[in-house]
């Protein structure tokens, strides 16, 4: 039986992490989301929000689910203001569908996190998830300019607007970005967009060790090169550059990058149009589409080489293997880690011990129940955690929204 909000009893097919929700709601409108949350609040039910479901394995293990709120029917590009380079999407719209639509005017939402055909705008925002071209365009928190959200008590509110520059009021949209659904349900969001480039080129540079990787990246950037992405990958260790601009510019920059590779004792390879698409898909899948623990680590750029060398040693000595990708200049690393859970937990804590608060972090994004029990998935959040807790309490006093899934288990 469906009611107006598409609410029905949950079944085996709805199970998340093996837990069957009591209710499943799939509202088709902002009002429907508000009614779902108002109802849940009245019933004292907790609500788990699901977009594309690509990241539901992240976060703590669930005991029960009262209401599973799916955003899948909120799947429209509400407005594409191509003359303004902005667009508004409902939260359940996938990134791929969004960019297919925006591409009609040779524009895009400049985000390339994994799994774009399934990942939704709401889910990407809730996790502030980004990909290789974060190097040029930034993370979701850098591109969002407005949001409609529904609070746990069913009240709908807006933040920001549709213009690219705006300092009126608190930036609640940015606060919800990366909140893992703990403060409100995102109904729609407005972003500034980027033009699609005329041409692109990919250069893959193999280098023999981590210090060379860091030196090559620094050297390239100091020569005025402007890649859209500057990625790292193991194994073999390499730097992958994506150039996006006018045809003549990308050709020239790719050539410079190849020449510089040789002078750093590396081997460069230039990929043509078809080969590069395939390459980038493979690059993404190596970490995100295979089994294993997912870690996100951030270090200071100057510590990149030493972190990579340490990691190699630390994994080997614990009998662990890993595959790594990441943004070299930003020093954001994504790891897929394999091996005994207690050894993985030991590696995570050893890595955290190396890092000073604020100058690096290791977060366990996806893990087995066994590993989740052995380690603190978030790690230390520092002296602002009390304020975060207070923000959560003010937004969701009964802690019914995505309970335990917010940062630090909020």
């Amino acid at each position: 039986m469906h009611d107006a909000e598409g609410r029905r009893a949950g079944g085996a097919a709805d199970a998340v992490d093996g837990v069957v929700p009591r209710w499943v709601a799939e509202p088709a409108s902002q009002e429907g989301v508000a009614r779902t949350l108002t109802q849940a609040a009245a019933d004292g039910h907790s609500v788990l929000v699901q977009g594309g479901g690509t990241k539901l394995g992240w976060g703590p293990r669930l005991e029960t689910i009262d209401v599973l709120l799916r955003t899948g029917r909120l799947n429209e590009v509400v407005a594409h203001r191509h003359g303004d380079l902005t667009a508004t999407m409902q939260a359940g719209t996938t990134l791929a569908a969004t960019n297919e639509r925006l591409g009609q005017y040779r524009q895009w939402l400049a985000l390339d996190p994994p799994d774009s055909t399934r990942a939704t705008v709401g889910g990407i925002l809730a996790t502030n998830d980004a990909g290789p071209r974060r190097h040029r365009h930034g993370a979701p928190r850098d591109l969002i300019i407005g949001m409609t959200l529904v609070r746990a008590d069913g009240v709908t509110a807006q933040s920001g607007g549709i213009v690219v520059k705006n300092v009126a009021g608190y930036d609640v949209a940015r606060l919800l970005t990366g909140s893992f659904g703990s403060l409100g349900v995102i109904v729609d969001a407005t972003f500034k967009l980027a033009p699609l480039a005329d041409a692109s080129r990919t250069v893959v540079v193999e280098l023999s060790d981590a210090p060379l990787v860091a030196a090559y990246a620094t050297d390239l950037l100091s020569r005025g090169s402007t890649p859209a992405a500057i990625e790292l990958a193991t194994d073999p260790l390499r730097v992958i550059l994506k150039f996006e601009s006018l045809e003549s510019v990308t050709a020239g920059q790719a050539e410079e990058a190849m020449a510089l590779a040789t002078s750093h004792g590396g081997v460069g390879q230039l990929l043509d149009a078809d080969a590069q698409d395939q390459f980038w898909t493979g690059h993404e899948r190596r970490v995100f589409a295979e089994e294993g623990t997912l870690l996100k680590a951030v270090v200071m750029p100057a510590d990149l080489a030493s972190s990579l060398s340490w990691l190699d040693e630390a994994a080997a000595s614990r009998g662990l293997s890993y595959v790594l990708t990441g943004q070299a200049a930003l020093s954001v690393l994504h790891l897929r880690l394999m091996g005994p859970a207690e050894q993985q937990a030991a590696l995570v804590s050893a890595w955290r011990e190396r890092l000073t608060l604020g100058r690096g972090s290791v977060v366990v994004r996806r893990a087995s129940a066994e590993l989740k029990a052995l380690t603190d998935v978030w790690g230390p959040l520092g002296d602002t955690f009390e304020v975060m807790r207070e923000v959560k309490r003010r937004f969701d006093p009964r802690a019914t929204l995505n309970p335990g899934r917010g940062p630090g288990g909020l």
Partner: protein
């Protein structure tokens, strides 16, 4: 404000850091919005974070409101003192704490001037991107609080895109570290909401900023147009062509003439000029520059000037930056507004403003960040003429309503402060504002940190906003206004 409380402050931080003399306190009675004035109960000038904590703790214990102040150049009354409160003047906390070139970071105390950051790192080939026109005279703490912008924010983003971390004293005196030096720190994005919170959530005592490498190539072009429609269409065409210049600025006839009279930049006498700057990789800049020239020609642009060297580039920017102050020659007083519109709506909104100018009989100059739709209309009037100040105020609010009509915002960079708090309900519903209040109370349950700003309150909204007058530093020729 009781003298016992002031004595207590002196005991806690020393009398040399406390200003209680009524005459001296007058120095602080307003920020750049000089029409709003209020003498603080007392002012303190801390030099250390411990002193800031001691003051805030004393306020917390005694339920006394406090307001942080940077350089007092804000244009929305954000640093307007509370008559019964403590004004915490941050200018003595002006040390550069760490320059970290390998990591492309710099950490400063909040009293450091914006331009000083770039001065410090320029020898290494780096700069700090956000460039408000007041950058010689405004502080990083004020920039963080207002999420300040500048001409070059079109491509590089605003303050919020360049602040990575902040040390801050919460309204109960607790010291916290928000964000960090790495690009991401796990947890709720408290930094994202602290930036732009107009000093209402905490007192910031240290800031870590991201640095950028100087671009390889910079090219600047100026073009004249016979109508603001043509200039506005040229802006839209640039954006539609997929080009994001470093800056696109527009001036209309009124402000061009004012700038010519003041600093003779050699601008053509036209209905409008556009200044477009491209930067980045040499080959890309060269190719896009040709496209810009073509777009300008297609929209009947003429009198094109291309800067041949730094000197000529400097002259073009001088003309642009002087425009604001130069309006002082045209009119004894003027209102300045900071509304934002979707950039494709420029021609129609400028036409409405033009019509309003004719109907009201008041001169309205326009000089603004066209690339991101951030208008700065200057409504000129004469205080000596009966009723003109009131008329100008009505005209100024009318322009804000045009911005909101097309889906825009009350403010792009100057902030809401005391000035536009009463307009907030025109842009946000009660539920929107109540949601923002939830953030406010999470940080500041007692409501002591810069009260009566940003949110509409009855006390505030009974007052009539006043005219713009030159900021003292501007009058002294230290800064121009954009």
């Amino acid at each position: 404000m009781t003298s016992e409380f002031i004595d207590e402050l002196e005991r806690r931080i020393g009398s040399e850091a406390v200003v209680r003399d009524q005459g001296e306190l007058l120095t602080y009675e307003s920020d750049g919005l000089v029409s709003h004035r209020s003498r603080p109960g007392v002012a303190v000038l801390p030099q250390t974070v411990e002193q800031v904590q001691a003051v805030v703790r004393a306020c917390h214990e005694a339920d006394v409101p406090f307001v942080a102040r940077g350089q007092g150049t804000g244009l929305s009354g954000g640093a307007l003192p509370h008559p019964e409160g403590v004004l915490i003047v941050m200018t003595r906390m002006n040390r550069v704490v760490e320059i970290d070139i390998p990591n492309e970071r710099v950490t400063v105390e909040p009293g450091v001037m914006n331009l000083e950051v770039t001065r410090q790192v320029a020898p290494h080939g780096y700069y700090y991107a956000p460039d408000p026109s007041s950058q010689v005279i405004c502080s990083i703490g004020g920039n963080l609080a207002e999420n300040s912008g500048g001409a070059h924010c079109l491509k590089y983003g605003f303050t919020v895109h360049h602040v990575l971390g902040a040390e801050a004293v919460l309204p109960d005196g607790t010291l916290v570290h928000v964000g960090g030096a790495a690009v991401d720190t796990p947890g709720l994005d408290l930094l994202g909401v602290l930036v732009g919170s107009e000093g209402t959530l905490a007192v910031v005592t240290k800031v870590t900023l991201r640095l950028l490498r100087r671009p390889e190539s910079v090219r600047t072009l100026l073009a004249a147009f016979d109508s603001t429609d043509d200039a506005g269409n040229a802006v839209s065409d640039v954006i539609s062509a997929g080009i994001i210049p470093a800056a696109i600025e527009m001036m209309d006839r009124t402000t061009i003439r004012a700038a010519e009279a003041a600093v003779q930049p050699g601008f053509p006498d036209a209905e409008a000029v556009l200044i477009v700057e491209l930067d980045g990789h040499q080959a890309e800049v060269a190719a896009q520059f040709e496209q810009i020239e073509a777009i300008s020609a297609k929209n009947q642009g003429w009198g094109v000037q291309v800067a041949r060297d730094d000197a000529q580039r400097g002259r073009i920017w001088m003309g642009r930056k002087a425009a604001f102050a130069a309006m002082g020659r045209v009119s004894p007083s003027y209102y300045v507004q900071d509304g934002v519109i979707p950039r494709s709506r420029l021609p129609e909104v400028l036409r409405r403003i033009r019509k309003l100018e004719q109907d009201s009989g008041l001169t309205i100059g326009n000089v603004f960040h066209a690339g991101d739709g951030n208008l700065h209309p200057l409504v000129c009037y004469d205080d000596a003429v009966d009723g003109q100040a009131e008329l100008a105020e009505q005209v100024a609010s009318e322009i804000l309503s045009y911005c909101l009509d097309v889906g825009g915002s009350l403010t792009g960079e100057h902030g809401i402060g005391a000035d536009k708090a009463c307009h907030m309900p025109k842009m946000f519903t009660d539920d929107d504002l109540a949601t923002m209040q939830r953030v406010r109370v999470a940080f500041d349950p007692k409501g002591l940190c810069n009260p009566d700003k940003l949110f509409p309150t009855p006390r505030l909204c009974g007052e009539v906003p006043g005219p713009y007058r030159a900021h003292p530093a501007e009058a002294a020729g230290l800064a121009e206004r954009v």
